[in-house]
């Protein structure tokens, strides 16, 4: 009952958000916006109210509803339960206007109030305050000044501040995601590599191709993407600067050139290459382009991911018959198998402190995203329902993941809280969305 009520609230909030999307004066090289739906709620999450911010100037208010963006961020994190707009009975815009008994009655733990005004020169100033309802205590009071076009970014940064203050770990809303879209049918299929805000807004095309694009990987500074492109008929790995669009061919050797992954210090790129006769993990020094072969086996070895300390690599190998995860130090010396539950484990994603390994786990014909807790004796929990889920990718704070799923014959993405309890679908009206990758924290 509680969940159904929440669902209605989220649905209402999202419809409002979608209609508020398209700001005036957007740059031309835009990709199609993804459609967002939250598919379930978490009754145990922390109740918080984000009161609509007042616009206190005579000018036309900006198209972005900052409080709405904050509310949606907090809701999809799974850590918060936000009060729906229709239940917000009073609209204080500063701490002195909050009537705490009202919000206590509505069983709210926290309340966010704020206001915006035109500061001249086309800039908007956003002031917000976070209050603890029970203690009637101010926890945050901050202001941001930005161009109207950057207000979604401001809203995500405010959501990050609120998240960190209450949860105790940095928020990851002011981040970007990369994914691939495939639109069209047959020979007319067009692939695009897209970079968007963490909530799917502001999609920008990084590269277009009539041939498959896959496996985007972020550099640790968030400035580059490495990816696989079939534009010349076979797989090749490219690295592209997001600000300039300039790109370099990293590897187009005979056979497979796939699965790029940047080292934590950004100086190396691990890949799967098969020019030696068999798909093996190689590490390229990006300054010298020198390659070092890490694995030596007669099986498929692919999907390398770096441990956060940069000292070893976790990868997929079918050396034991079916794909499983293995770990090998950069110095070589042999791999250690690390997954034993499930017939098929691959596509590892490692959170910031390596306490959680997410993977695609297949049992029979059902493929789901599993998270292995390295601190709880490698206990595994499923965070997606299947049956065709893949490509997990952690937010930089580890609290949410993105993954790809199949609905009917359509490819969609989900963002999901790390407990699997709240999911948000990111879909394209007329195409597939696949190969998601969550970027690092943004450097201001």
């Amino acid at each position: 009952m509680m969940i159904r009520h929440l669902k209605a609230i989220f649905a209402a909030a999202l419809v409002a958000a979608v209609s508020a999307v398209v700001p005036a004066g957007i740059p031309v090289a835009r990709a199609q916006n993804l459609t967002l739906d939250i598919v379930n709620g978490v009754p145990s999450a922390i109740p918080i109210t984000v009161v609509p911010f007042a616009f206190e100037s005579a000018a036309t208010p900006p198209a972005t509803d900052v409080s709405e963006v904050i509310r949606n961020d907090l809701a999809r994190s799974g850590k918060f339960r936000t009060l729906g707009r229709q239940d917000i009975v009073e609209t204080p815009t500063r701490g002195s206007e909050i009537k705490f008994p009202t919000w206590k009655l509505l069983k709210q733990d926290y309340i966010v109030v704020g206001r915006e005004r035109d500061t001249g020169g086309g800039q908007v100033r956003v002031d917000f305050e976070l209050w603890d309802v029970t203690k009637q205590q101010q926890l945050l009071s901050l202001a941001y000044t930005a161009l109207p076009a950057d207000l979604r970014g401001v809203a995500h940064q405010i959501a990050d501040q609120i998240y960190q203050k209450i949860i105790g770990v940095p928020g990851a809303f002011y981040t970007r995601i990369a994914y691939v879209t495939a639109v069209g049918v047959g020979k007319g299929l067009q692939y695009s590599l897209i970079v968007a805000d963490s909530d799917g807004y502001n999609p920008q095309v990084v590269v277009h191709s009539l041939q498959p694009l896959l496996s985007p990987a972020w550099s640790p500074d968030g400035k580059k993407l490495a990816y696989v492109s079939f534009e010349h008929g076979d797989s090749a790995v490219y690295m592209q600067d997001l600000a300039t669009g300039a790109r370099q061919l990293i590897s187009a050797r005979k056979g497979i050139n796939g699965a790029p992954s940047f080292s934590p210090d950004g100086t190396k790129l691990a890949m799967c290459l098969s020019y030696g006769g068999n798909p093996e993990i190689y590490v390229m020094d990006l300054a010298t382009r020198q390659l070092t072969q890490l694995t030596h086996s007669m099986s498929i070895n692919t999907e390398p991911r770096w441990m956060p300390d940069g000292q070893s690599i976790v990868f997929t190998s079918d050396r034991s018959g079916k794909p499983q995860l293995y770990q090998e130090p950069l110095t070589g010396g042999g791999a250690t198998r690390i997954t034993f539950q499930g017939e098929y484990n691959s596509n590892v994603a490692i959170n910031y402190d390596a306490s959680q390994f997410a993977m695609m786990q297949g049992n029979g014909n059902v493929y789901r995203i599993a998270v292995m807790d390295r601190k709880l004796g490698n206990q595994v929990r499923f965070i997606s329902p299947g049956p065709m889920d893949e490509s997990p990718s952690f937010a930089p704070n580890g609290s949410m993941l993105l993954y790809a799923a199949s609905e009917g014959t359509r490819g969609v993405l989900y963002s999901v809280s790390d407990d699997g309890r709240i999911r948000q679908r990111l879909s394209l009206a007329n195409g597939d969305v696949q190969s998601p990758s969550w970027g690092p924290y943004r450097q201001h």
Binding site: P212, L214, S215, F230, G233, D234, S235, G255, I256, G258, A259, C272, S274, P279, I300, N301, T302, E303, T316, D318, K322, P323, Y344, S346, N347, M360, G362, N365, Y367, P387, M388, E390, S391, S406, T409, Q434, S435
Partner: protein, 171 residues
């Protein structure tokens, strides 16, 4: 249904075996008698040399897809004849070139399936070379699960996607 077909097939095969037992090189499979040789593998592929026109008319050469079991890359007996006639074409026409495109079904990850598609294409390449084709005539490419011919989530559809397509780039 399946069982009926298998029994019929087994009966047919034992007849076939008796007729041409000496021609079958069968690997030992103790629990299966008789061994499952391809129903038509004993037919000679062609008497003379192939010409480019045969690619469109010869019933064997016209078959350019080889299908595989899930997560497997070994060529099943029923496809040995296709491999044999394609190999003969390459032998008959040294100027001919082909690309073997390895594909997989949707199960498993994109990158692992690139590996699996390549393993399948290489399996076909090895078989062609074992029958006399030159390695220089064959290019291998893997599309993994990126080029499905069918997008339903069921075995009928998956079976169509687990394939190596033979594409002649020079006839």
């Amino acid at each position: 249904m399946n069982k009926t077909v298998r029994v019929t097939l087994a009966a047919l095969l034992s007849v076939g075996l008796a007729a041409c037992a000496s021609k079958q090189a069968v690997k030992p499979q103790p629990e299966q008698t008789p061994p499952p040789p391809p129903p038509v593998a004993t037919a000679p592929v062609a008497s003379g040399k192939y010409t480019p026109a045969d690619l469109d008319t010869d019933p064997c050469l016209r078959q350019r897809s080889i299908y595989f079991d899930f997560d497997k890359a070994d060529i099943k007996p029923q496809f040995q004849q296709i491999v044999a006639c394609q190999a003969k074409y390459l032998v008959d026409r040294p100027e001919a070139r082909m690309t073997l495109e390895g594909n997989t079904d949707e199960r498993g990850t994109r990158e692992y399936n690139l590996g699996l598609g390549e393993r399948r294409a290489k399996s076909v390449a090895s078989a062609l070379e074992a029958l006399g084709a030159s390695a220089g005539q064959i290019t291998v490419v893997s599309y993994g699960k990126e080029r499905p011919v069918c997008r339903e989530h069921n075995e009928t559809c998956w079976a169509k996607n687990r394939r190596v397509d033979i594409v002649y780039t020079a006839k």
